[in-house]
C-alpha cells in the first residue's frame, strides 16, 4: 500500500515535468498551428544551459535557482530567434512543411549541442534546500520530487490566468482564430506570435532545467521528450492547456504503475493509451474539432495532368542509366542503388496518402517494416522461397494497413498523423519485445535471396523492376477514378459526400493500398540487406519517408521520386564524407523549406509554368 502511494507520487512528479514541456508545445500550436518538433530540443538545451550556469555560478540558492531561471530565459530567447529567423517566414506554408523545418532545427541543435558539451552524459548538482527526503507513510520520498509536484499546478494556474484575464491573453486567443483580422484591428500580430513563442520555449527550457537534479543530461533528451510531449498534447486535445494537464497526469501515472503491473509492454503502453483515447475521442480529451485558422491558407491544389513530354524523356533517360550503368559498378554501389529503388517506392506509397489522399502519416515505416518482417518471418519459420516471401510482404503490410487504417482515416490532421505514429510504435515494440518470434533487438538474420537472385546485380534488377512497376502502378491509380475519388474527398468532403462518395471507404482503401506498396519496398529491402531489425519500423524511418515526400513536393506526382533520390543520396554522401552530417542535413532542410516551399519538383514545375505560361 505505502509503496503504491509513493509510486503514485513519483508519477505525479513526472506528470508535472511533462506538463511543463507539453504546455509550451500546446500554447505554440494553439496560436501558430506550427507542430514544433524542435520543442524537445529546447527542453534539452534548457537542461544543458542549466548545467553550465549552475556549475559556474556560486553555489547556494541564488546560484542554483538563478541558473535554472537563467537557462529557461535563455531558451526562451533561442526560441524567439528561431521564430524570427525561420518560422515567421513560413507561417503560410502547409503544416507539414513547418514540421519539416522544425525537424531541421532538431538536427542542427543536436550537432551543436554535441560540439559544445560533448557526447558524454553530464550529472548536475542537486537542488539546495531540497536535497533530503520527507517521510511519507513511513517511507522516504525525495523533497525535490515533492517540489516538482507543486510546480505543475502552479504553472497551469498562472497560464490560465494569463490567457483568460489579461489583454495579451485575449489577443492571443483571437489571433489563434484569425491572425489577419487581429492585425487589421491594429494589433502587431507578429510581435504577438513572437511573444507566444518566447513563452512556449521558456516553458520547455524550464522543464529541461528542472530535470537537472533528477537525471543526467544527455543528447537523447530531445527526441525522448518530444514524442511524450506530442502524446500528451494530442491526448489532451491540441491547444487545450487543461487537456494537456489531464493527459500529463494520465501518462505520468501510467509510467509509474505500468512498470509494476505490465513490465513487458511498458514501451508501448503510452501509445496504446493514445490510440485508445483517439479512437474514442477523435479530438483528444478536451480538444475541439479544428476550425481552419484564417489568414494562413494556401491556394487550391494544382490540377493533375499527364506528364509533359520533357519530363517523360527525362524519366526515360534516367531509367536507361539505371539499367545500363550498374554492370560497371562495384557491389557497394549496386546495393546503394537497390536501396534507392526501395526508397522511391516507399516514398511514392506515402505520397499516395499524403498528396491525393490529403492525410499525413507519421508512422508509414510500420508498413515498410511489416513487409520486411512478413518476408523474413516466412523465410525463417516456414522456409519460404524468396518469391513467396516477396508476395507475402505486401499482403502482411496491406492487412495491417486495413486494420490500423480503419481507425486512422476516421481522424483528421495532426490527430490522424499521431494515431498512425501510435500504431507504428505498437508494431515496433512488438517486434522489439516479442523476442521469441522476432529475435527482438537482434533482428532476424540470414534473409538472403534464392540462389538465382543472389548476385547483387540480379537482385538489383529485380528490385528495380518491382519498385518501378509498383510506383508506376500507383501513378496510374492517381489518374484512375479511385485516385480522383481520393482527391475529391480531400478537396471537399462535403461535396464528395453529396455526390455519393463514401469518403471513409476511399481513404481506408487508399491507406491500405499505400501500406501494401510500402510492404513491397520493405520486403525487397529485407532481402537486399539479408536481415530485418525493429528499427525498420522506427520513428526515424517514418521521418525519412516524410522528408522524401516533402523535399520532392507533395503536389506533384514526380515529387516523391525526386525527393527519395535526393534525400537518400544526400544522406548517403554526407554520412560518408563528414562527421557533421546532421548539421549539414539540418541546414539543407531549413534552407529548402525557406527557398523551395513547394518542394524540389514543385519548384521546378512553378518555373516551368512561369516560362511556358498556363491557363
Amino acid at each position: 500500500m505505502e509503496n503504491l502511494v509513493l509510486q503514485a507520487l513519483s508519477g505525479l512528479a513526472s506528470a508535472s515535468s511533462l506538463f511543463l514541456v507539453a504546455s509550451g508545445l500546446t500554447v505554440i500550436f494553439g496560436v501558430s498551428r506550427v507542430v514544433n518538433f524542435a520543442h524537445g530540443s529546447f527542453y534539452m538545451l534548457g537542461a544543458y544551459l542549466a548545467y553550465t550556469l549552475v556549475t559556474h555560478l556560486p553555489r547556494g540558492h541564488l546560484g542554483f535557482w538563478g541558473g535554472v531561471i537563467g537557462a529557461a530565459v535563455l531558451v526562451g530567447l533561442i526560441g524567439l530567434a528561431v521564430e524570427m529567423l525561420l518560422l515567421r517566414r513560413i507561417y503560410r506554408a502547409p503544416e507539414l512543411f513547418q514540421l519539416l523545418a522544425t525537424f531541421g532545427v532538431v538536427l542542427i541543435v543536436q550537432e551543436l549541442t554535441q560540439m559544445i558539451w560533448g557526447a558524454q552524459d553530464l550529472l548536475g548538482p542537486r537542488a539546495p534546500g531540497l536535497r533530503g527526503s520527507a517521510e511519507i507513510l513511513g517511507l522516504r520520498f525525495p523533497l525535490y520530487e515533492l517540489f516538482l509536484i507543486g510546480v505543475g499546478p502552479v504553472v497551469l494556474g498562472l497560464l490560465v490566468l494569463l490567457f483568460r484575464r489579461t489583454r495579451w491573453g485575449t489577443l492571443v486567443r483571437a489571433a489563434t482564430q484569425d491572425r489577419e483580422m487581429v492585425g487589421a484591428l491594429g494589433v502587431n500580430q507578429r510581435m504577438l506570435f513572437t511573444s507566444v513563442f518566447f513563452l512556449g520555449s521558456l516553458l520547455a527550457g524550464l522543464g529541461g532545467a528542472l530535470q537537472l537534479p533528477r537525471e543526467s543530461v544527455n543528447l537523447h533528451m530531445d527526441l525522448s521528450i518530444i514524442t511524450e510531449a506530442f502524446v500528451v498534447v494530442v491526448v489532451g486535445g491540441l491547444g487545450s492547456l487543461t487537456g494537456a494537464a489531464l493527459a500529463a497526469l494520465l501518462i505520468g501515472e501510467l509510467h509509474a504503475f505500468g512498470i509494476l503491473i505490465v513490465p513487458k509492454i511498458t514501451l508501448v503502453l503510452v501509445f496504446l493509451v493514445m490510440a485508445l483515447v483517439l479512437v474514442v475521442r477523435p479530438h483528444g480529451l478536451l480538444g475541439k474539432p479544428e476550425a481552419a485558422a484564417r489568414g494562413g491558407q494556401g491556394s487550391a491544389e494544382p490540377v493533375i495532368g499527364p506528364a509533359p513530354a520533357a519530363l517523360r524523356w527525362l524519366a526515360l533517360a534516367a531509367l536507361g542509366l539505371a539499367v545500363v550503368v550498374p554492370p560497371f559498378l562495384g557491389d557497394y554501389a549496386i546495393s546503394v542503388l537497390t536501396e534507392l529503388a526501395t526508397a522511391v517506392l516507399f516514398a511514392a506509397s506515402l505520397h499516395l496518402i499524403m498528396g491525393p489522399g490529403g492525410m499525413a502519416s507519421f508512422g508509414h515505416a510500420a508498413y515498410f517494416g511489416l513487409g520486411a518482417y512478413g518476408a523474413a518471418l516466412a523465410a525463417q519459420w516456414l522456409g519460404a522461397p524468396m518469391l513467396a516471401g516477396l508476395a507475402l510482404a505486401p499482403l502482411a503490410a496491406g492487412v495491417f494497413g486495413l486494420v490500423f487504417g480503419y481507425f486512422c482515416v476516421r481522424l483528421s490532421g495532426v490527430y490522424a498523423a499521431m494515431l498512425t505514429l501510435a500504431f507504428a510504435q505498437i508494431a515496433w515494440s512488438v517486434a522489439f519485445q516479442w523476442v521469441e518470434v522476432t529475435g527482438g533487438d537482434n533482428g532476424i538474420l540470414g534473409v538472403w535471396p534464392d540462389a538465382w537472385a543472389a548476385p547483387k546485380l540480379v537482385f538489383y534488377y529485380l528490385a528495380l523492376a518491382l519498385c518501378l512497376g509498383a510506383t508506376l502502378l500507383l501513378r496510374r491509380v492517381v489518374h484512375a477514378p479511385f485516385g480522383y475519388a481520393l482527391r475529391a474527398q480531400r478537396d471537399s468532403a462535403l461535396r464528395a459526400e453529396a455526390i455519393g462518395i463514401d469518403a471513409f471507404r476511399i481513404r481506408w482503401l487508399g491507406f491500405a493500398l499505400a501500406a501494401a506498396a510500402a510492404g513491397i519496398a520493405g520486403g525487397l529491402f529485407a532481402y537486399g540487406k539479408g536481415s530485418v531489425f525493429p528499427t525498420y519500423m522506427g520513428i526515424p524511418r517514418s521521418v525519412d519517408a516524410l522528408l522524401m515526400v516533402l523535399l520532392g513536393g507533395v503536389q506533384t506526382l514526380s515529387g516523391p521520386i525526386i525527393g527519395a533520390l535526393a534525400f537518400t543520396g544526400l544522406q548517403e554522401q554526407l554520412v560518408r564524407l563528414t562527421d557533421l552530417w546532421r548539421l549539414i542535413l539540418g541546414a539543407v532542410i531549413v534552407l529548402l523549406v525557406l527557398f523551395f516551399p513547394q518542394g524540389l519538383a514543385g519548384a521546378t514545375r512553378a518555373r516551368w509554368e512561369a516560362r511556358h505560361g498556363d491557363a
Binding site: R167, T170, L171, R173, A174, T176, Q177, D178, E180, M181, V182, G183, A184, L185, G186, V187, N188, Q189, A291, R294, S299
Partner: protein
Amino acid sequence: MLSVAGLSAYYGRAHILDDVALDVGAGEVVVLLGRNGAGKSTTMKAIMGLVPPAAGRVRFAGAEIAGREPFEIARLGLGYVPEERRIFTELSVLENLEVGRRPPTAGLRPWTPERLFALFPSLGAMQDRPGGRMSGGEQQMLTIARTLMGNPRLILLDEPSEGLAPVVIERMAEAIRALKSEGLSILLSEQNLHFAQLVSDRATIIEKGRIRWSGSMPQLLAADDVREQYLSV
C-alpha cells in the same frame, strides 16, 4: 480624409485592380458599387494593406499609407469591417470588443462598450455570449462595434448587407446614419442599391478592377443608363 490614386494590385498574375482612384471627405459616406468580383473587396483590402498594392498612392489623414503594415494603418485611425464578418467565435462579445480597443482619437468622442450597446441594443443583451453562437445579423453588428472600439476616423465597410434579412438591413442603415452623424467617414461597398441609396452621399462604380463612374447619389439615381450598364437591377 482618404484619397486613393492610381491603385493597382495583382493576385498571382491576374490584374485585379487597375488605376483605381477615389476620395472620401471628412464626415462623408461614399459607396463603392459593383458586382461580385468587380474589385470592391480587393480595393478595401489594398487600402488596408491586406493585399499588397503593386502601384499607386493611398493617403489617409495626411499620411502616405500604401505599402505599410495593416496594424500600422489601423493605428492611424482607419477601421476595417470585413465582408465575411470574421468575428472571434470563441471569444465573448465583450472580449471581441476588447480585441478592437485602441486609445481615443483626438476630436472624436471615444467609444466604450456602453455606447456601442446603445447603438446596437441587441448586443448589450448578450455581452458574455460567445461570438459563434450569434445570428448572422448580430455578428454583423458585432464586427462593426469591434472596429469602432479602435476609435477610427474612417471605416471601410465591406458589403454589410450581404446575407441579411431585409428587416436587419433596415436597422443597419439606421446605425450607419447614426455613425455619420457622429462625424465618422465611411467607405461602403455594396451590391444592394436600395440599401446604398439610404445611407450614401456619393457613389463610385467599379467593374473589372477599374473605376467606371463617380458622382453624387442623386446623379446616379437619375442616370438610368449607368445603372442599366453596371448594376442592372
